[in-house]
Amino acid sequence: MTVEELKELSQKEKARQQKFKYRILFCSAAGCVSCGSGALKDIFKEAFKENSFDKKCELVGTGCMGLCGEGPLVKILPDGTLYKKVDAETVKKIVRDHLINQQPVKENVIEPSHLFFASQQKIVLENCGEINADSIEEYIATDGYEALAKVLTELKPEEVIEEIRKSGLRGRGGAGYPTGLKWGIVRKAVSDKKFVVCNADEGDPGAFMDRSILEGDPHRILEGMAIAGYAAGASQGYVYVRAEYPLAIERLKTAIKQAERLGLLGNRIFESNFNFRVDLRIGAGAFVCGEETALLRSIEGRRGRPRPRPPYPSEKGLWGMPTLINNVETFANIAPIIMRGSEWFSKIGTPKSPGTKVFALAGQIKNTGLIEVPMGIQLRKIVFDIGGGTPDGTEFKAVQTGGPSGGCIPAEHLDISVDYEALATVGSMMGSGGMIVMDSTSKMVEVAKYFMEFSVDESCGKCIPCRVGTKHIHSLLDKISKKSATIEDVQLLEELCAMVKDTSLCGLGQSAPNPVFSTLRYFRDEYEKLLKPVENYVPSGEISKEK
């Protein structure tokens, strides 16, 4: 394929779409599917038949539209009306009132001014919920693969890296390592074979950002990876995705096939000398495989146990070759940066953390779903404006970010800015973007225990502090929650947590005590309420001496 052919394809697809009077987008991401969006297509068709209205309409299944708690969601183009809770009855009304009589069905409309959407800014998710994820043509019609074309025909690898570096993009997997810097290291590493790996092993309970991106816009990831491959000098890419996401795996498989068919992956892409292939590797249920060295082990078909760093994967990764590992969301940011320039990107968000961040908002909150906000937004805005606050009758208590590696942020810190550094100062972390809201019904000792149980279960067992330490942290928390612990146990708990944090081999162990630290820091009274007094006994002291 040539650049001209790509443009032609894009025009053709745009023209095809304009032929339809209405395009009805229904969310077919996992959230809406589970409330029945799978059947919507047939229901619509039936409704068309009943009203003898079947011309100039296209029904399109798309990725996540965001407001998962109100699903199934349906969007009508070109006017852009968004409907919530669409069932068979509503479909009939939509067809009759909206499509035929141009009168929106008021009771199901979500107003565009809804606060959930008002504070968001979409870069990564701009195509999610807008295009059919199973169609490469629709992606191309949104200027897809043009960034790859631009890179391959106009830029040198060094220039690509420079552009990414200037944009200030930081890894979205949690640690926030500058992406451009990482690419540069892999570029400089001397080796005849290099790899690009996309980390889609989103194991944090309560996080579904990567899943939504893969399900809604898989080509963007492939494009980002191909650009990374060109910049780093790699010709093989792997996407490591969880087995728990069958729909994402299916969509990725389709996407890879389509891209190969059009020559957007494979040999001599855009008639350059650049070859790039992508293979899928499917995880098998191990949280620790989100750690990069464990992930590489897993791709090699082995037990996903991490190894000490250095050497970092950018020097010695898959089969000992330099390997570039980035998170799904990081790759999703690449194409827009190339197309719109680093300057545009660096102006969004904060100077130290530019860009946007996708969060999965869940827990005790009115509007659950997928959101994308500029970095540096106030946490309060996310919880109370976008999320709509906690359900009626309960009081906000804390928001948990960073999954089992992060911490709980209490109400007193709601005014902090959401960026890598600020979250760390309050004892939490950005993590991959799970955000769970807890209200006054949540017991914080139980919450810490829940996360610790997760860490015990997911510890790989290689290093002692994590393997045995997390087990003992869990049993100490259990003792506290059963009201049989004393203040001495809390001291021991703190000592053990510090040790596990400092001596564990990988990120999982090092961050496993974080939920305990943060709950102890902000909700110490909840621990202390459960303690019993130290056993009363004759204090050891001077022995009565012989006279």
Binding site: P308, C460, P465, V468, H472, D502, L505
Partner: protein, 242 residues
């Protein structure tokens, strides 16, 4: 290969850049406790006993897997490190079923030595007393998982030196166990050559010779360095064997 200088515990030392901090420290009689490390095997940095503080780095590093850098300032014996090492041994002691009094490796046990070294007076964590199986099906050796510390020396020696890969680890986290073949009895393993290397590198009496009674089992893992060096340098290959 280049020679560089670094400071360990305030002493100026020199070492080669392809060695590890642990190598250099040991050459200069600076003791850093280790458990999973064994000369002749690859290092995995699993036991975390050899953690050291490096100036300018927030995180602790394992001496066995960290290469020295020019001007590096390392501390191996701060109070914090000592405390952490004692806790690691505490965790190990609470994890298995270690009864020195009835153990064939009593007085010849690396775990016991480490406990003395770090001054382990008592274990503050509840003993887990796991239910582990003992496999005495091999004709010469016994595998007692109760005494296993999961250092994986046996797995590595079997893979890297004997190249039989009879041993591996099953499960994960606290449920990890050493297994032979498909978790079959050792005596029925189709890959085991019966060479006994695993037995002699085992730091405790998780693997021991049959016939030994309490405190009789002596281990001499030094043989490994000897044969591995000979192999790497091809010292024995060049000598014609009749």
């Amino acid at each position: 290969m280049a020679i560089l200088t670094l400071t360990i515990n305030g002493e100026q030392l020199s070492g080669k850049d392809d060695e590890t901090i642990l190598d250099i420290a040991r050459q200069h009689d600076i003791n850093i406790p280790t458990l999973c490390h064994l000369e002749g095997l690859s290092d995995i940095g699993a036991c975390r006993l050899c953690v050291v503080e490096i100036e300018g780095q927030a995180k602790l590093s394992t001496a066995c897997s960290t290469k020295p850098q020019e001007g590096m300032v390392v501390r191996t014996d701060t109070e914090r490190l000592k405390k952490y090492r004692r806790m690691i041994i505490e965790l190990l002691a609470s994890e298995g079923n270690h009864s020195c009094a009835v153990c064939v490796a009593n007085n010849n046990c690396e775990l016991q030595d480490l406990a003395y070294e770090v001054g382990l007076v008592y274990v503050r964590f509840p003993y887990l007393y796991p239910k582990k199986e003992l496999d005495a099906t091999h004709k010469d050796y016994v595998n007692d998982r109760n005494r296993c510390v999961l250092c994986t020396r046996c797995v590595r020696v079997c893979h890297e030196v004997e190249a039989a890969h009879t041993w591996d680890i099953s499960g994960r986290g606290i449920n990890c166990e050493i297994i032979s073949d498909l978790n079959q009895p050792w005596g029925k393993s189709k890959t085991c050559t019966g060479c006994g290397k695993c037995v002699f590198v085992c730091p405790t009496a998780a693997l021991f010779e049959k016939g030994a009674t309490i405190a009789e089992m002596e281990k001499h893992p030094e043989f490994l360095k000897y044969i591995v060096t000979a192999r790497q340098k091809r010292e024995w290959i060049n000598i014609e064997e009749d």
